[in-house]
Assembly symmetry: C2
Homo-oligomer: 136 residues x 2
């Protein structure tokens, strides 16, 4: 579900799976553990979320750093290629909280809109959509 590039056969699906959700999830992971990109990409894959491009993960982390929401240093203590270890900053923690609130508000709207509703009895007007009067 949800492919991006036009195959010139399927009608394009208009969902970009990642973006806000990627950034939010990365910040959430970093709230619990300090980690480096490769590790975070693996955790995302194991979490049952739709697949992420590792290049996008790396770029997103750098962007979060530019924004001051995470900070990083090179970890050369282990053998193998150096790792860029990230940790959440105080600003990142505050930002994450705010964003989880926003997501919760979306969820409320979705729940209220979807709850116990039979789409076959759908109508055009409705409580939230009066004819043309009574709207401010």
């Amino acid at each position: 579900m949800a492919k991006r590039r036009d195959d010139a056969e399927q009608p394009e699906t208009p969902f970009r799976l990642h973006g806000d959700l990627l950034t939010t999830t990365l910040l959430a992971f970093l709230r619990k553990w300090n980690a480096y990109g490769y590790q975070l990409a693996q955790q995302l894959a194991e979490a049952g979320l739709p697949a992420f491009d590792s290049g996008t993960v790396y770029r997103t982390l750098r962007q979060l750093e530019r924004a001051g929401l995470v900070s990083s240093f090179w970890d050369t203590s282990e053998s193998g290629p150096a790792r860029r270890m990230y940790s959440l900053t105080r600003a990142g923690d505050i930002f994450l909280s705010g964003w989880i609130d926003v997501l919760g508000r979306y969820q409320d709207v979705l729940r209220k809109t979807m709850d116990g509703f039979d789409p076959d009895t759908k109508k055009t007007g409705g409580a939230a959509a009066p004819k043309r009067t009574a709207r401010k």
Copy 2:
């Protein structure tokens, strides 16, 4: 919170508030009522969600139509400018359900990661991030 264009004063905030969430919310609204763009934009504003650009709403609706998730016709039954009335297609309904599942999975991950956790006791390793062995 969350401005986009670089003011050359604030560090850029890396969140695009809309996208997936806009499309999901529009489809959810259309599951309940048929509606036109101007009306949907108003409902979004009244729902307490972050502000939407109306141009983006209109373009998103056309994109959803190209993808076959909604359909539309010109409604000239009322006075004033003609309205393009949208309704959810069967494909749109199925797609919406799938997407709400994906959002639920993100929520599970966020909840599990955030629950009852004191960020001050944060560590580097952790159950999901072993040193270098035992990882496949």
